[in-house]
Chain length 204, copies 2
DNA sequence: GCTATCATGTTTACACTGCTAACATTAAAT
DNA sequence: ATTTAATGTTAGCAGTGTAAACATGATAGC
């Protein structure tokens, strides 16, 4: 006894899209398959998402919320360098374990965040969280804090990219000092690595 | 008086694809439009590229060759830290000026480089060039050299990603210490920034 | 030089996609 | 109770990747 109106279609579409995006990558996701999965007509999603990019933006928004949570450090306690390393580590872990969603968040599938207020908000809040943590480590100026924060972010962001690129090739290629094995070494000693870089960053 | 056989179709398709990919982004590129552009039937490209991914791989290969060239330092002269900063700067410049091609090289459009020998070769050779430059700076062990090299690479790779993501939003958003203006500061002082990070890296 | 072969190009066709327009149903507002 | 707006459906367009069957012509062996 299915009613004509679904009742909760938008949220169900988003949930479904998040699941399928992460499972198969966002390129494999089609609005039509999504509609079928929710037992609704092919064009029903268009009542809730103007274009496919709008749907992508919703998935990316969810992604930033999860990333925010993964990188959150309890604000009450005193922040040490160890905490920052932890943030970086958690960031990288998120990027590697949610690789397909991560692509949607940082790739070009969603062109301009400013067109999607919720997305812009969730992305900015991820940044604000990180910045707050840095601000509790030392009494730097706002500019220096922001600078360090962006430096850490680009560092871990870059590592996610390189590690992923190198992982898929497989490790029977460059025994020794090639990019694959080197990246592996970095990956297995991530905390050490982040610690070194952050030490340089914090002291300067 | 056009002959049935084109004569140089494969190379023309690659050139055309490189141009269109960089102009419109690889998602806008279709095999059919490419064929039309070369004045040939819709399915002719399939005689030269098994799938669309194979075509992508060719474009990415060209990309790595250009990147290699952009990051090349003349091997004869003595390498100083300044040269490494220059490499990093050139890398970032390439990533920003060839953003769409860069996506193809480091995104997920081409899944596994190992399936495309020429691509794997050109990507590895980019890495080897960089590693060679590092090896001429100090007498580190191969492992340390590789480590530093991957660290610089992930650093600049991450900066390209963050800078691009933040650029499209526009700079009338977060006056002061938001990610946009901070990234702008880093961008306009790229040499300084790389110098700082590299100094920490080289001394450790 | 003649012919068989094979690389390369064409035509046709299928299943899929994003998206629009016109219409149907029902919940909410007046 | 009636109007209206939100949400759903159906039909259809133009475009896509790709496979199969066929056409053409360059080239290799006789």
């Amino acid at each position: 006894m299915k009613s004509y109106h679904h009742g909760n279609l938008k949220q169900e579409l988003i949930n479904c899209a998040c699941r399928l995006c992460e499972r198969d990558g966002y390129t494999k996701l089609s609005i039509r398959s999504l509609a079928k999965e929710s037992g609704v007509s092919q064009t029903a999603p268009y009542r809730h998402f103007e274009t496919k990019e709008t749907l992508y933006a919703s998935v990316a928004t969810e992604g930033f919320k999860k990333l925010s949570k993964a990188c959150h450090i309890d604000a009450d306690k005193k922040i040490t360098k160890k905490h920052l390393v932890e943030i970086g580590y958690n960031y990288i872990e998120f990027g590697l374990k949610n690789a397909n969603t991560y692509d949607l968040m940082f790739g070009t599938a969603v062109g301009n965040f400013a067109e999607y207020p919720e997305l812009l908000e969730s992305a900015n809040s991820t940044y604000e969280n990180m910045r707050l943590s840095f601000s509790k480590l030392a009494s730097d100026s706002d500019e220096v804090i922001a600078f360090k924060c962006i430096t850490l972010w680009s560092m871990v962001h870059g590592l996610v990219g390189i590690l992923r690129k190198v992982q898929v090739v497989g490790d029977d290629f460059d025994e020794g000092v090639g990019p694959i094995s080197t990246a592996s070494v970095i990956a297995t000693n991530l905390e050490d690595h982040l610690d070194k870089v952050l030490t340089g960053l914090i002291q300067s």
